[in-house]
């Protein structure tokens, strides 16, 4: 189990729910004016209806980015 956290500087962190260890971190693309794109809302849902859920982030300027969650990451196994 994980907790995804969206920040106002556009960073999205995924942390282990039990310990808070950082599993992965990504940053939303910047806005056209070069400023950070704050995360407006995070979703965890099967947006593509493929049977697996993904993290969907909506940025302040309307940008929508989806991230799939892969199980074969060495950080996760550690």
């Amino acid at each position: 189990m994980c907790l995804a956290i969206g920040f106002d500087n556009g960073t999205i962190e995924v942390r282990k729910h039990r310990t808070g260890d950082l599993v992965s971190t990504v940053k939303l693309n910047q806005q056209i004016n070069g400023k950070d794109n704050p995360v407006a809302k995070l979703f965890y849902c099967d947006y593509r209806m493929q049977g697996n859920k993904q993290v969907v982030a909506v940025g302040k300027d309307g940008l929508i980015q989806g991230y799939t969650v892969a199980i074969s990451t060495s950080q996760i196994e550690a």
């Binding site: 189990m1 907790l3 956290i5 969206g6 920040f7 106002d8 310990t19 407006a40 965890y44």
Partner: protein
């Protein structure tokens, strides 16, 4: 307003008297039908399919975020976890408050991770995870947290 997607029609339209900050949908203990629960200024109101008020209780200050979750292991009924502007996270079982957590800033978001585990975020940049009554961890960063998402994604546990 409640809207039926499949029938493409309105179900009901209702104006909540004391403001609306957040909504939750779920089943309350002791009430048969599922409710739409609206968190307003100092109060929480539950409505059924016919826009009838089935449930009402008070919180301190504005209810900012709410989630239905099985908070205890004792039974299968859902509790309502409410984060409000007076720095408190309250857990309601029906209309009765069963637990109260005091934090040090306004609660921004509460997200269910799995059964009786939830993540929370505060206005001062703190975020963390509670397992029922126990806080598993918390962290503070300089940038403000805007949103959380609980992922019931199977890792090693």
């Amino acid at each position: 307003m409640v809207y039926d997607v499949e029938q493409n029609s309105d179900v009901f339209d209702y104006e909540v008297a004391d403001g609306l900050n957040c909504l939750a949908f779920g089943k309350m203990r002791g009430i048969k039908e599922p409710l739409v629960v609206a968190g307003g200024d100092c109060s929480i109101t539950g409505f059924d399919m016919n826009a009838e008020e089935k449930f009402w209780t008070v919180t301190g200050d504005n209810a900012r975020t709410m989630k239905f979750m099985p908070w205890t292991n004792v039974d299968e009924s859902n509790e309502l976890v409410v984060g409000s502007d007076d720095y408190a996270i309250r857990v309601f079982k029906g209309a009765e408050m069963i637990f109260d957590i005091n934090e040090d800033a306004k609660i921004i978001d509460i997200q269910v991770i799995s059964k009786n585990t939830f993540g929370y975020a505060l206005a001062n940049g703190t975020f963390g995870v509670y397992y029922s009554r126990k806080r598993l961890w918390k962290q503070k960063q300089s940038s403000r947290v805007t949103s959380l998402a609980g992922m019931d994604f199977k890792l090693d546990d």
